[in-house]
């Protein structure tokens, strides 16, 4: 076990040492994805507005300003989470050229995707702020808790990316399973529907869904002006668990990835 931990921390330390590499790659990634388009990364903002408008105006007969705030904040977090998870399953496969041609640590690729998604998330944050302003939301001190929620989400994301990255390498079918599950999860997560304490299927989807708590981390302080104690507790436990799994996988499997991808 000591060797596994030492391997994992050595990999992460090497990624920190060569942070300029993944910072440079990640900042170029977003520009490259939109290089030949007229709007460039503004498409990310357009996508966000398209989804938000659909959820707010199409799925609800009489949308209110409060519901618009609920959807805008939830969608901002959801977009980041879904980007991290769906892209991570094929992460090491996409990085084959660097994995087989350089001795960069695997954590560097994990951080590259994390930073890339954080940059993309900035456009969703801008879209969210615009909707909040249009909905005339009241800014309160409780918003600080939403800031803490964002920090927890960002801290959790490299671990999630690493775990799903290894899953994708060792079980190639998982990329299709995860893609399908995430499509279903969009409807199974209280993203554009609310939970008023009822039981049944909707109650189960609300309570037994980890995404609920990550969304509530940011959404509850802004929508309800309340501190999301339950969401903070559950997401912290989830984050610690994901980091523990990620460290064990990184420490024990990191050198096998180059032989498989």
């Amino acid at each position: 076990m000591f060797k596994i931990l030492a391997n994992a921390f050595a990999d992460m330390a090497a990624a920190y040492e060569r942070r300029r590499v993944w910072i440079t790659l990640a900042t170029e990634d977003v520009g490259d994805q939109h290089r030949r388009t007229a709007l460039g990364p503004i498409w990310l903002l357009v996508n966000y507005f398209a989804f938000a408008a659909t959820f707010i105006f199409v799925f609800t007969p009489n949308p209110t300003a409060e519901f618009a705030i609920y959807v805008a904040t939830g969608l901002m977090v959801w977009n980041y989470l879904t980007d991290c998870i769906t892209q991570s399953v094929t992460l090491f496969e996409r990085e084959e050229s660097f994995i087989k041609g350089t001795n960069l640590p695997l954590s560097a690729y994990v951080m590259r995707l994390t930073l890339q998604n954080l940059i993309r998330a900035v456009y969703a944050v801008i879209g969210c702020v615009i909707i909040l302003v249009l909905a005339q939301v009241n800014v309160t001190w409780d918003w600080i808790w939403a800031g803490l929620g964002l920090v927890i989400i960002v801290v959790c994301s490299p671990a999630v990316i690493a775990v799903f990255g290894f899953l994708g390498v060792f079980f190639p079918d998982s990329q299709f399973i995860v893609a399908n599950l995430m499509r279903v999860a969009m409807f199974a997560t209280p993203l554009f529907w609310t939970h008023e304490g009822e039981g049944g299927l909707r109650g189960a989807l609300y309570y037994y869904n980890p995404f609920t708590y990550f969304l509530d981390l940011v959404r509850t302080p802004i929508v309800n002006n309340a501190i999301p104690f339950t969401a903070i507790g559950i997401s912290l436990v989830f984050t610690l668990a994901m980091w523990a799994i990620a460290i064990v996988l990184l420490g024990s499997l990191r050198k096998q990835v180059a032989l498989i991808v």
Binding site: F98, K100, N103
Partner: protein, 247 residues
Amino acid sequence: MVSISAHDLRLVYQVREKLTLRPRDRRMTRTGGTISGSGSRRFVTALDGVSFELSAGDRLGLVGSNGAGKTTLLKVLYGIYEPSGGSLDIRGKVDALFNINLGFRAEATGRRNILLRGLINGWNEDEIGARTEEIIEFSELGDFIDMPFKSYSQGMGARLAFSIATTLEPQILLMDEWIGAGDADFQTKAKRRMDELAEKAGIIVLASHQPDLIERTCNKVLQLEHGKVVRFGPLEVQEKPAAANSA
């Protein structure tokens, strides 16, 4: 002091097979490592008991048929693969040139790739910036340096890769068949630069199927077959049977 010391290196990995109803092709080939086991637990022994010592100024030519383990050995030396057994002691800063398409960013310009390769090799932006013009000049890519890497021919990619790797002064340079892509003029230039690198007490390990390239460039030869050392020794005696250190 720059050196490479490999003792009884082994690399064994499991073949991961997908579930399929199709009959599998179990014919053994002349190439590749040794395959053992059966069903879903099949293992490839890519390197088996590889031992050699190199010291400052050595230029080792790696020879052997396709799949003999040359690239695998280079990747073990570079740290991409972890050996399953044996010991490896490398002293010196290592850089490697594998397939030209590996380790470069296809969408980025040649100039951006110089920066990326430099950062990957542990240099900072100032150090890379100070050498960028020298790299461009040696590569003779001219205005193409500001074109995307994916628009380069194999030869142009090889020129850039070689120029970056050698200008950033590695103490140990590992190369895999890359040089065949360059034209004759560039090969002459490259040969001169490799000599300079070796004279500066560096080590070069070059895998190639071109005997004349090995003869022109190297002073030692290591021949691999099925992951095992068949012979290792000075270039002049390469035709003799395998030396004791290959046993």
